[in-house]
């Protein structure tokens, strides 16, 4: 024992954390799992099986929470790099390949800072306000559909779907939760005991409250057309070709939603709450360390949320723009399906698995070896192996895309969402800020009447169509 404690004494501070962690993960946890599984395993599985809904819900919210952090990291990195290239400079390029690990390291840095609060700040509120802001941002992830479910062949109903929880008042839930952000920002500004923060908090409260009304109203037209507030239903109604996307039926609504969502997410040109050339960092002036990290991440999660919403409501969600199988049907060609049955090969499968990688590695490496003099053989083999991996992954991906409908849906959803995130980042690099009175005037005098006009026109159109085609 004393030799163990002596050797532990020689370990570096990082080691003092990692070694116990390794011990827990690789030694204690398996032992515990085996013991617990053997003793209460069957009972536990029974319990889970009978409450599948709750289990699914818990897994869904954990997944959603865990997903939001990497999303924020990716968006932060994108923002830094894209704005840098727009500014004719390079952006982060040291940490990781082309600076990709920059945001992760920034997150770690923010975690490692000293935990303090200003002398006269309200400590409790100061700590929990950023949590509230982050919470409301992440809670909205619950209802966003990432991918389609499948149609149960027995009952003909839609089952599943890559969504946290499919409320049939999904949109209402979204706007309700999004409105709580105002409370969080106000609390953050007030509890900092700083005039700049107070100003920033008040400005942000005024801005967000003013822009929530056009935001909500612009979507009501869409609700009338779709007949439902459930986001998965809205996504399903945009199946088929891209002409069925709601943006073509509600262009004004989409535009108003986009502008109001920019203001809700506190992005340029509406970012006076964090106007760093006027009131330093607005309501976040006194925050540092992980509290600031929460506020910072909440903003980027918000950006992803509004992009995802834009995509879900108006741009087809997880639907591809063209339906390839439809085209093939028109041309009387059989639709592409993937019907693999590797088990039927029998022993041949084993030979295939052993032979194909080696053969393809050598095949891909051969041209390099032959055409480049002085390339050592092992280098050509390595290149061949890398290429084989790339090709194999590509083929596997293609098969997965064709075979698994939900994967195709998820990929399209992310492509479209990140395109909108790019638009938000683009706007940040290009536009200056509006002034507070211009901002309020714009919301109340232009966006609100426009949203009402949109609603009026949509309702009229629906009635007229019903009358003409009963």
């Amino acid at each position: 024992m004393s030799s163990i404690s002596r050797s532990l004494g020689h370990v570096s501070p990082a080691g003092k954390v990692i070694i116990p962690l390794l011990v827990v993960v690789f030694v204690v946890a398996p032992i515990l799992t085996v013991l617990v599984g053997a003793v209460i395993g069957p009972w536990l599985l029974d319990l889970l099986g009978s409450n599948l809904g709750i289990v699914r819900f818990l897994v869904a919210i954990t997944g959603v929470l865990l997903f939001s952090i990497p999303a924020a990291f990716i968006i932060i990195y994108m923002e830094l790099k894209v704005i840098a290239y727009m500014n004719l400079r390079v952006g982060p390029n040291r940490v990781g390949p082309a600076g990709a690990a920059h945001s992760v390291v920034a997150g770690l840095k923010v975690l490692s800072k000293e935990d303090f609060s200003p002398a006269n700040a309200d400590r409790f509120v100061f700590t929990w306000a950023p949590v509230l802001v982050f919470l409301t941002a992440v809670m909205t992830f619950l209802v966003i559909p990432f991918g389609p479910g499948y149609v149960d062949p027995a009952t003909g109903e839609r089952v599943g779907g890559l969504v946290g929880q499919d409320f049939n008042i999904g949109l209402l839930y979204l706007f309700a939760v999004g409105g709580m952000t105002v409370v969080g920002l106000l609390l953050a500004g007030w509890s900092s005991f700083n005039k700049y923060s107070l100003l920033g908090g008040l400005r942000s409260a005024a801005q967000m409250v003013s822009y929530e009304i056009p935001l909500t109203l612009s979507v009501v037209g869409l609700i009338l057309l779709a007949g439902t507030m459930s986001l998965t239903e809205i996504a399903h109604q945009q199946e088929g070709w891209f002409t069925s996307w709601f943006v073509f039926r509600q262009p004004l609504g989409a535009l108003i939603f986009f502008i109001a969502a920019t203001a809700e997410a506190n992005r340029t040109p509406f970012d006076l709450t964090e106007a760093d050339s006027e009131i330093v960092a607005g309501f976040a002036t006194e925050y540092s360390g992980m509290r600031f990290g929460f506020l910072f991440f909440a903003e980027y999660v918000n950006v992803f949320i509004v992009s995802a919403l834009m995509v879900t409501l108006f741009f087809g969600s997880w639907n591809a723009p063209v339906n390839v199988n439809d085209i093939l049907n028109q041309l009387h060609i059989a639709p592409i399906t993937v019907d693999l049955d590797p088990g039927s090969l029998g022993v041949g499968l084993l030979l295939l698995v052993m032979a194909v990688p080696v053969a393809l590695t050598l095949l891909f490496g051969l041209p390099f070896y032959l055409t480049r003099s002085r390339m050592p053989a092992w280098q050509a083999v390595v290149i061949g192996f890398v290429l084989f991996n790339v090709v194999a992954m590509g083929i596997a991906f293609l098969l997965a895309y064709i075979g698994l409908v939900w994967l195709a849906g998820v990929i399209w959803f992310f492509i479209k969402s990140f395109m909108f995130v790019f638009v938000f980042v683009w706007m940040r690099g290009t536009f200056p800020r509006v002034r507070i009175d211009h901002l309020m005037g714009f919301a109340w005098k232009w966006l609100l009447p426009a949203a009402l006009l949109n609603l009026f026109l949509t309702a009229t159109a629906i009635v007229v169509v019903k009358v003409l085609h009963p």
Partner: protein, 414 residues
């Protein structure tokens, strides 16, 4: 040695942190801890219902240097404004009194560090008047050429700075590209990128060389188109224009009474430019116009000041062109003794710096050090306008107005 007991100076310093912390509320308040010394201070530091003080600076991303501005606001509206200077005061005038006439040139460089050749030009002209020295024509042409190049560079930086203060992150980097090209050019002949130390009493330090001419030729071939692109960058942007139009109006009479000079004066309708009103160097031989904006009864606003500086860049390009064509041969420096001892006397010289009239009043007492060097800096006088213009505007406009006046704290604080 007499000790001057100043009854006014017995108060505690408003910057001493032990005193600034108000024990009752436990926060740093912008109010000084002593009773008001002057009428204006009393007027400013008394709060009415609903007003509060906000302290901007001295560390602030947008105050053009270390400037502290105390704003008295009522909600989002600024009721009054008090700039506090002195954070960059280096005692340049006192230092000049104990430096040789040649050494003064390097002392004076960091005043308006953005356009430092002009800081050297006025003292050098004043000393040449004291010494009755005639500057060779080639040196004069080189002075004008480099001066106008630096004027373009300074106005390019103004454009980027203005956009940055309004929230646009990108134009400042374009400004720095432009500035980088010009500054590299000047580094080829002066050896320095920023505080050039190039002018000498009686001429300039180094002649134009091949690298300078090739860079200049390169740049000139693109300059006109680049200028058009710069104009188009921000003029069409609705947000920019709306934030600048109608803000900070100065009319002709007010501008003259506030002793404002330079683009701020010309944007209020007064056609006063030292190069034409009181010509110096070889400006009488050059053909250029003085752009003027804001001729109406209300005068000029921030947008006029912004557009006027863009017009001036065009005129500077014309001047550079003419200088290049008319550059005479000859010496670049008059022959002067190493140790300069001018006759006792007084001399005043003023040049048109990018920010206004930059002047030097030099008194010589027959020794090799100036007896008194008074430097008149245009930004110092221009900054007084901010207090006057900001009444009734919003906080966000403080930055816009200050940026449109284009102050540089080095010159303001001397």
């Amino acid at each position: 040695m007499t000790t001057f007991t100043d009854p006014i100076g017995q108060h505690a310093s408003a910057d001493d942190p032990r005193i600034m912390l108000d024990n009752q509320i436990g926060a740093f308040e912008a109010v000084p801890p002593y009773p008001p010394r002057t009428e204006r201070e009393a007027e400013f530091y008394s709060l009415r219902d609903g007003e509060m003080f906000i302290n901007m600076g001295p560390q602030h991303p947008s105050t053009h240097g270390v400037l502290r501005v105390v704003l008295k606001i009522n909600g989002e509206q600024v009721v009054d404004l008090d700039p506090v200077l002195g954070y960059l005061h280096r005692g340049v005038e006192k230092l000049c009194e104990t430096s040789d006439y040649h050494h003064v040139i390097s002392q004076v460089d960091p005043l308006e560090y953005v356009s430092s050749l002009f800081n050297e030009w006025a003292p050098v002209m004043a000393f040449e008047k004291l010494l009755d020295v005639e500057v060779p024509r080639r040196a004069e042409y080189i002075r004008v050429l480099t001066g106008e190049l630096l004027r373009i560079s300074s106005h390019a930086l103004f454009q980027g700075w203005m956009a940055l203060d309004l929230g646009g992150l990108t134009p400042i980097l374009y400004s720095f590209i432009e500035r980088d090209e010009i500054v590299e050019m000047l580094a080829a002949i002066t050896g320095q990128r920023m505080l050039f130390n190039y002018f000498r009493i009686g001429g300039v330090n180094g002649d134009l060389n091949h690298e300078f001419m090739s860079r200049l030729g390169d740049w000139m071939s693109r300059a006109a188109k680049q200028h058009e692109a710069n104009i188009g960058l921000l003029n069409e942007n609705e947000i920019f224009v709306r934030r600048m139009r109608g803000i900070g109006k100065v009319d002709k009479d007010t501008a003259l009474r506030m002793a404002v000079t330079g683009p701020n004066l010309r944007a209020s309708g007064v056609a006063y430019d030292v190069r034409r009103a009181h010509p110096y160097s070889v400006y009488p031989e050059l053909d250029f116009d003085i752009p003027v904006r804001g001729r109406g009864p209300e005068g000029g606003d921030s947008l006029d000041r912004y557009l006027l500086r863009l017009d001036e860049v065009r005129e500077s390009l014309r001047i550079i062109d003419q200088c290049l064509h008319a550059m005479p041969d000859g010496p670049i420096m008059a022959r002067l003794p190493r140790l300069l001892r001018p006759r006792p006397g007084r001399a005043w010289a003023a040049v048109e710096a990018p920010r206004g009239l930059y002047g030097t009043y030099a008194i010589s007492d027959g020794t090799d050090q100036p007896f008194r060097m008074k430097i008149h800096d245009p930004s110092f006088v221009n900054l007084q306008l901010v207090g006057m213009l900001m009444r009734g505007n919003l906080i966000a406009d403080t930055m816009a107005v200050m940026a449109s006046l284009d102050p540089v704290m080095g010159g303001i604080d001397k």
